[in-house]
Amino acid sequence: MSKLSFGYEALDRTGTLNVGEVPPVPDSERVGLKKKDIAADHPTWCPGCGDFSVLAIYFKLIEQRKIWHENITTVAGIGCSSRFPYFVQGHGVHFIHGRALPYASGVSLSRPDLHVFAFGGDGDAFSIGGNHFTHTARKNIRMTYLVMDNWVYGLTKKQTSPTSPLGFKSKTDAWGSFDRPINPMKQAIAAGATFVARTTHTNPKHLLEMMDAAMDHKGFSFIQCLSECVEFYEGAFDASNPRKGGSFETVPEDHDVTDEIAAYKLADEGFPGKFGIYYKNDRPSKNEQEEALGEKMRAKVQGLEDWQILQKNFDRMK
């Protein structure tokens, strides 16, 4: 007699999913997606928001890299920019505030076939989710994390954010903020991120270059993308925008991206600073190391079925 009241059931997909007749399409016959295939809901962002250009570039990246539709996996936390997954026609996750990285880690580590993109804002990344940023970076979990940094809390209508500069007048610091802001680039380098890049929404070509390079990276790739909040922090990034009289300077050609100290020095420059890849190294990702560990351990139980592996343990407990 079975001791289980809820034993294994092969879940009937037709009951809850419309399986229908889906003819297989060989990869050779598949065509890359166009923007119209990837665009989902119309973004809820304010007109002029920097996040629009990040979304447009993400579409372009998917098109250019020919990512199959079913493999688009977009994860976000909470915030204006974290609405991102709703606007993308693909597998999307709108998770809780600050925890996009651990969620994306679960996807990444259990599904080596996918490249996960996590999107978020400065509050999500550096305030409520600060701990996860540090640890995902140090563990080097494979994914691309793009933070749309606007230096302000926008969704909740203008409170000080962890990247708001000193003196910023918000609803929670009417007299001007005096808490020292976080420098995301320094934070990322110090935490041990293996790909650290900086870009801005006003230079879509550069943004695409950075996302493309990030996707090629085998570990945790972090991009800080300046993304202006036209509603609550208009003009924040003018000094980095040549059309507003600012200057857009890329990382010097002789910069050694494997030199951590040089990267830290770049990160220490005042605004507008440089744009491009600050730091990159090929330290093995957690994904690779877990895989190697698994291979080593599976070698010891080679040829055994799962129940036989467990049986060996049970035999020792007799």
């Binding site: 693909g90 679960g106 640890h135």
Partner: protein
């Protein structure tokens, strides 16, 4: 030691009493290896086709501190670790003073005469046997003064007293030290033999267990944390994430060690929130994953669990309960997390809560939890507790070949998909994992915002009403399939005891004792705690008093957490609580006394 029959004297001229069971309490410090003695005895019982249950306390200090391990071994069914010990093995003065009261009158205390000065006041009530355990162990092994080996020496003494199978014990010792340097095994065997050969001259009797009747062959012996961890593996769980906290950590360590062999992995995260989030991410992408914790760790996970309820993502959350609130009593047992398991989240967030009742049940409930989670796309709590987690039991070996599950999600393409389809009457829908092609080109978003059928945000009142109802309805359809609750004892009588979790054994033993005394007492043990089975109402009708036996506080209204739920569901004033918060499991006599008092006070 019950049912003893005296037989012929053995070679040493001592009487040998045949016994059906014995309770042995070993008291020392946590670094003395007393858990190892208990472990050997439990494993031996399993191999000798006897039943066994252990009970231990450990200090919450990092190293040292008083600790006990109690083993009850017997030929019949063992339901609890025993109220009173037959034999106390005391290593120190504090062990002696602190635990002599747990010995039955006439019981035997074996003390380490190197450390214990017996109290003359106790000599009349208990047989005293002093053995220089520390010095004799050092002598046997050869001069090491580090107190090593005295636990194994003591095991030898016990083996002599109870005529235990020496060959089997030696084999167990050898297996235990497998892979260690040879001299460690040799020293252990030397210490064991010295203990066994020691002439317990002062002891009047020796004992011998009745032969097993053969009904308990093919047993495995493990503790509740191991059973739960292996149950999850059997269920097909291949990914987990957690953060260290007592007493959950053992499960996490087991899964970290074992899962890679099965192509899976377990991640130690930076905090509790990351671990639940990582587990949900893996559950979303690759089939049911597990996270777990104890005490405050569960509180930290609450927000993310609420998300999994809203987004309808399957998940198993193990909660090895300990004394709370806050840091509370980390190494003591309590059943005070029922409310947080059922209701720990903001908003209406129905989820499933199961509670295993013993070590064997922990194995099977882990499998059920996974199957319920995947079928209903919902987080499922497994409410274990410190008592189940740390106690060792023997149970019939499960048929692993039959039970082992593969729960890898189907990734074949679908024509169209709505993760939150409102059309099924029972409210049950399932999500698809990334990598699943949707031919219509319309892909789902899983979300914590109230949403439409595709997962896109909505402000529609009607959708919130319908989706809230959907999340409730699917668990009501689960409730409709819950197995029938079987009362222990007749279906009618004066008193019905209701219990859950680790209290099952002592409650049943209390029922047996009271029925023997002519009282009309029965019990039900609830394993599905949320939603509660409907048939409890029918069972309660047959009794004048319904007493809910729980290890938690009586609360403002005089009954514990399960009692509150039962009152809310059945509105019966005859439902009352028997609760306590001393951090220890129920003693059978305690339950009996509390039942008598409760019936008397019913007015």
């Amino acid at each position: 030691m019950s049912d003893s029959t005296t037989t012929a004297p053995d070679s040493s001229g001592k009487k040998v009493s045949k016994i059906t069971e014995a309770v042995i309490r070993i008291a020392g410090n946590s670094q003395d290896g007393i858990q190892a003695i208990g472990g050997f005895l439990a494993r031996l019982a399993g191999r000798s086709e006897q039943d066994v249950m252990t009970f231990m306390t450990i200090p919450s200090t990092i190293s040292g501190g008083p600790s006990i391990f109690q083993v009850r071994i017997g030929t019949g069914e063992i339901l609890s670790s025993g109220d009173e010990a037959d034999v106390l093995l005391a290593f120190y003065q504090h062990s002696y003073e602190g635990h002599i009261g747990s010995l039955r009158k006439g019981g035997i205390v074996v003390y380490d005469s190197d450390h214990v000065e017996p109290n003359d006041a106790y000599r009349g009530d208990y047989q005293h046997i002093g053995v220089g355990i520390s010095s004799l162990a050092i002598e046997a092994i050869g001069g090491s003064a580090r107190d090593k080996g005295k636990n194994i020496f003591a095991l030898g003494l016990i083996a002599r007293m109870f005529d235990l199978n020496v060959e089997k014990l030696k084999k167990l010792i050898t297996e235990r030290f497998l892979g260690k340097p040879e001299n460690i095994t040799n020293n252990a065997l030397l210490a064991f033999s010295a203990g066994y050969a020691y002439d317990v001259g002062d002891l009047a009797d020796l004992f011998s267990f009745h032969e097993a009747d053969g009904s308990l062959s093919n047993q495995v012996v493990m503790n509740g944390n191991e059973a739960l961890g292996y149950g999850l593996i059997t269920a097909g769980v291949r990914f987990g994430a957690g953060y260290p906290i007592t007493p959950w950590s053992d499960i996490m360590e087991l899964l970290r060690r074992e899962l890679p062999k099965y192509g899976g992995s377990f991640v130690q995260c930076e905090d509790e929130i990351a671990s639940v989030s990582t587990a949900i991410g893996a559950s979303y992408a690759s089939g049911v994953a597990v996270t777990g914790s104890s005490g405050p760790g569960i509180a930290l996970k609450s927000e993310a669990i609420g998300w999994a309820v809203m987004a309808e993502i399957p998940l198993v959350v193990v909660n090895v309960q300990r004394g709370g609130p806050s840091t509370g009593m980390p190494t003591n047992v309590e059943q005070s997390d029922l409310f947080i398991a059922c209701f720990g989240g903001h908003g209406d967030s129905p989820r499933v809560v199961l509670a295993p009742s013993d070590v064997e049940d922990a194995f099977y409930m882990a499998i059920e939890a996974v199957n319920i989670a995947r079928k209903y796309s919902v987080p499922v709590f497994i409410l274990s507790d410190q008592a189940i987690a740390t106690r060792i039991e023997a149970f019939p070996e499960p048929n692993l070949k039959e039970l082992m599950q593969d729960i890898t999600p189907d990734r074949s393409p679908v024509a169209d998909h709505k993760p939150y389809d409102l059309s099924p009457e029972d409210g049950i829908t399932r999500h698809i994992v990334p990598g699943t092609r949707v031919a219509s080109g319309k892909y789902p978003v899983v979300t914590g915002l109230e949403h439409d059928e595709l997962g896109h945000p909505t402000g529609s009142k009607q959708l919130h009403i319908d989706m809230t109802a959907k999340r409730r309805k699917k668990l009501l359809s689960l409730r409709a399939t819950l197995p029938k609750t079987e009362p222990y004892g007749p279906a009618e009588g004066d008193v019905l005891l209701v219990g859950w979790g680790s209290s099952k054994g002592p409650i049943r033993e209390a029922v047996d004792r009271m029925r023997k005394a002519g009282e009309n007492v029965s019990a039900v043990h609830v394993r599905y705690l949320n939603p509660l089975p409907n048939d409890l109402g029918e069972i309660m009708k047959g009794f004048k008093h319904v007493l809910v036996v729980e290890l938690n506080d009586q609360g403002f209204n005089g009954y514990g957490q399960m009692g509150t739920l039962l009152r809310a569901k059945h509105t019966e004033s005859k439902i009352r609580g028997i609760t306590k918060t001393d951090g220890l499991t129920w003693r059978v006599s305690e339950i009996v006394e509390r039942v008598h008092a409760a019936v008397e006070n019913a007015g």
